[in-house]
């Protein structure tokens, strides 16, 4: 059944880190996107700058499934170091492309795999003189070969190269030459196209291809962030780099050439979050981005911001912990640390984006929420979302939108006020009024501190006053439940006894699992969480289902624990569906684990689709 493999396969590129393969592999993925076919590229890279194996998976899916899928249909292996493992990871009936300049070790030959040799090194030595070019064009030659084998439209590749190297015609020509070398080699030596191949479709619409970190950086520019403080850490670094790239284009005063933003690379994460808190205290919108180890370091300051009620925005691009863990692999494992960050009674507002579009929107919204709630907002993204390109709905901005600065008193409001109470709950929602330093010569100043104080910000060790303030903070927490992004419900009313709960990058594979199982008659209701605190919808969803599967990417079922801890629900019915090997969760893994937990009758039905 060759046609079943049109626009539905996984290609893996096995490269050596630092050899320029990334841009060639991206060219390949982008060409498929331009042909209107849904595509998901994922970079699987080592914690290393040069020399170690790195892989790039491209999943092509006519059905639009954007999660990771196991099983490689075609392997492009240009890394001898990883070749033995790479051969093994090809599915039976799949293809293995390798550099045949050197003969293949007979031990690596599998009878159920088709081998396609390309003399990459030989062609490069013959055609190019510069050593760096010899290395770089190896990558472009295999893209050319793939275009012949898989039916990639040549004009699309040409167009992409022209866009990439605007004004560098010579470079375009050399790349085209390399592409053609690959194409003609296939034309003269192999049958083409393969049974796995591409056909132009119109399934992409107006979607864009972008990584989540860039979307966060852009969202912060649109959301009005002016002070950015950060400390480099994988995989969050590109959030601030993206902010800087966009801000340099979009935030420079045309007359003076000066910048309408300030970026400070701090000495560590402690300082980064301190700067963000200082800037927000002083009335500028400010954010930082970090990952697990940074979040650990920021815990003390997060407690201060919670207790002293200072707006703060933190983007946590999660990676595999604990400790240094696997710093270039993905996970959703900072949830509990973030939710209860800091000593004492603290609860932090979390938001969970699952697409680049949500990264953009939620970053801008987090800046509003932080000021509205006067508390830290932690955005929980991850390496998979942050560093990989994803097909996403385009970004939108309403030009009539005004930043919501929350309850800030200006000089004339202070003038009219008999007495200003920084921590006085005037409106009964637990959210009090603040003033920005420098507002009024004699009114509205107060002393911000992490120690207990009364409604007028005066120091106190009176336990009743302290408890009253803690209760008021809880009232604010309850107010927040309906201000944060609401969960997304996949159905208007329940149609199943089973519910699925997921969030963030587990979404793609959860949706795929849900659709695949529905096709065999097993239906689920589903809810995608978008924020903590949980609102009533979440509690209702759990209460109205017999069993609820919580799909997440960590060992301990952290979201499950958080739901059980925060809501009045029975732990017995909350079934953890977990993945924590550092690779993005797959639909297959989700279905396998759900299957184990379903009744024997249903079990039979699901095993069919898993076989």
């Amino acid at each position: 059944m060759p046609n079943s493999k049109v626009n539905d396969f996984v290609i893996r590129f096995a490269n050596v880190n630092g050899t320029g393969s990334a841009s060639a592999n991206y060219l390949f993925a982008k060409a498929i996107f331009r042909m209107g076919i849904p595509v998901t590229p994922k970079n699987i890279f080592p914690s290393n700058i040069q020399g170690l194996p790195t892989w790039y998976d491209v999943r092509v899916s006519e059905k639009g499934y954007l999660g990771r899928r196991e099983g490689v249909d075609l392997m492009v292996c240009v890394n001898p170091q990883s070749m033995p493992d790479d051969v093994l990871s090809v599915k039976s009936g799949g293809y293995f492309i390798y550099d045949c300049t050197k003969a293949l070790n007979p031990a690596l030959i599998r009878p159920d795999v088709t081998y396609i040799g390309l003399p990459l090194m030989e062609m490069c030595l013959r055609e190019f003189t510069d050593p760096r070019q010899r290395q770089l064009f190896k990558n472009i030659i295999y893209v050319g070969a793939l275009s012949a084998l898989l039916d990639i439209e040549f004009s699309v590749l040409e167009q992409l190269l022209a866009e990439q190297f605007v004004g560098k015609e010579k470079l375009v020509a050399m790349n085209i030459k390399a592409l053609n070398l690959g194409i003609s080699y296939i034309h003269s030596n192999y049958a083409y196209p393969l049974d796995i191949r591409l056909e132009r479709r119109d399934l992409v619409g107006d979607k864009i291809l972008i990584d989540g970190n860039s979307a966060c950086g852009l969202g912060a520019v649109y959301g009005g962030a002016t002070v950015v403080a950060w400390y480099p850490i994988t995989p969050s670094t590109s959030v601030v780099e993206a902010f800087e790239i966009y801000a340099k284009k979009l935030r420079v005063d045309k007359e003076t050439g000066k910048r309408n933003y300030a970026i400070v690379q701090a000495e560590d994460e402690l300082a980064a979050i301190g700067m963000v808190i200082g800037a927000n205290w002083n009335g500028a919108r400010s954010f930082t981005a970090t990952s697990g180890p940074g979040l650990s370091l920021m815990n003390e300051f997060l407690g201060l911001a919670y207790f002293a009620e200072i707006p703060t925005v933190l983007i946590d691009v999660q990676r595999t912990g604990p400790s240094t863990g696997m710093p270039t692999r993905t996970q959703q494992s900072d949830i509990l640390l973030a939710a209860y960050a800091s000593h004492g009674d603290t609860k932090q507002v979390l938001v969970f984006p699952s697409t680049p579009k949500e990264c953009f929107e939620m970053t801008a919204e987090a800046l509003d929420l932080a000021e509205s709630l006067q508390t830290p907002i932690i955005m929980m993204t991850d390496l998979d979302l942050g560093m990989n390109d994803h097909m996403s709905e385009p970004f939108h901005w309403d030009d009539t939108r005004k930043y919501n600065r929350g309850k800030i008193l200006n000089a004339s409001q202070l003038e009219d006020l008999p007495r200003f109470g920084r921590y006085l709950d005037v409106d009964g929602d637990g959210i009090t009024y603040r003033t920005i330093p420098g507002t009024h010569p004699t009114k509205g100043s107060f002393f911000t501190r992490g120690t207990s104080r009364d409604e007028y910000a005066a120091y106190t060790e009176d336990g009743r006053v302290y408890a009253r303030n803690m209760d008021r903070l809880l009232k604010k927490w309850n107010t927040a439940k309906d201000m944060v992004p609401a969960p997304y419900l996949y159905q208007k009313e329940n149609k199943s006894a089973f519910g699925l709960i997921f969030f963030g990058t587990s979404t793609y594979s959860a949706e795929e699992a849900m659709e695949t199982m529905a096709a065999t008659g097993i239906n689920f209701d589903a809810m995608r969480l978008r924020a903590f605190p949980f609102n009533q919808m979440v509690e209702d969803f759990i209460h109205t289902h017999e069993k609820v599967f919580i799909i997440e990417q960590n060992r301990d079922g952290q979201m499950r624990s958080l739901l059980i801890n925060e809501l009045n629900v029975d732990p017995q019915k909350m079934i953890p569906i977990l993945n924590y090997d550092g690779m993005p969760i797959t639909a297959h893994a989700i279905m396998t684990l759900i299957n184990k937990n379903l009744s024997p009758a249903l079990n039979g039905a699901t095993s069919k689709i898993l076989s």
């Binding site: 864009i208 002016t226 002070v227 301190g274 200082g278 205290w281 002083n282 030009d399 004699t442 100043s445």
Partner: protein
Amino acid sequence: MTYIRPKFRHPDLPKNDLGYTTREYEGSLSTLCAGCGHDSISGSILQACFELSIPPHRIAKLSGIGCSSKTPNYFLGNSHGFNSVHGRMPSVATGANMANRDLIYMGVSGDGDTASIGMGQFVHVIRRNLNMVYIVMNNGCYGLTKGQDSATADAGSKSKAGSVNPFQPIDLAGLALELGASFVAQSFSGDKEQLVPLIKAAVSHPGFAFINVISPCVTFNNNPGSTKSYDYVREHIEATGKTDLVPEKSEILASYESGTGTEVMLHDGTFIKLEKLAANRDPFNRMEAMNALRNARNRNEILTGLLYIETETEDLHHTINSTDRPLNTLEEADLCPGAAVLAEINDDLR
């Protein structure tokens, strides 16, 4: 226990250019020990701001944790203050300064807050030449936890309990000089006559201004054998000369002996006037300042006064080329590129 400060003030209290008396610069009543050096420093800060006629709301006070860091509550009650976390005042000050370059940032810290837990942030705020005043109230011990030695305690200094500190001290003024601070001074809490003009000069300095103030802890480190006691400091102090700040356009009177004084013009046209400089002192020469400090230490003397100043200095805003307008005053029109630009960005991503 309640502390009540009498509301009565003498009707003829002197007024500054803004028509304010010192009362407008007062804070809450101090809860530090009676006789604490820190309270004297608070008084000097208050006096300096009063004399400079700074509108109190144009100052932001920042501190970390410790006895010293409580003091911003005890001066400038009409200024916003931020008592942050231990050793992290510089980062909060950096963020605040980035948000609004037009305020004056008065950072107050202690020797524990700066020389131990906050060492990293201290050295980096110097590196960045953040425009702020950074005062260390240096008493050589941890007061709030009852008198443990701090990292600035001199080797051989004896604690109240009689134990002798075996470790070398961190010389904060020397460190600031080494790191390239653009204004470094040292003083003594008990010498208001010297300290007030130094604070005034520090406020007027357009970059990072560091003042290390020896401030005896009357409760835990004022005993015989301590090198941070009132008696020891008074006996071992060696002033570099008298400093005064002359407001813009004022006539400069040469009240010092010819050849022994100098003037330093600041960016806003004010002058720092240094009188009766000790022989061979050159406040514009970093190397000389480092040597003088070191030599004084070798003589068991504490060199005080303005040690070093760099008048042509550029602060962090200049380095990163941020706008002259305070960033916290920018609005949607300045900050948000709008839907049309976003449509172009979308197009580039297809």
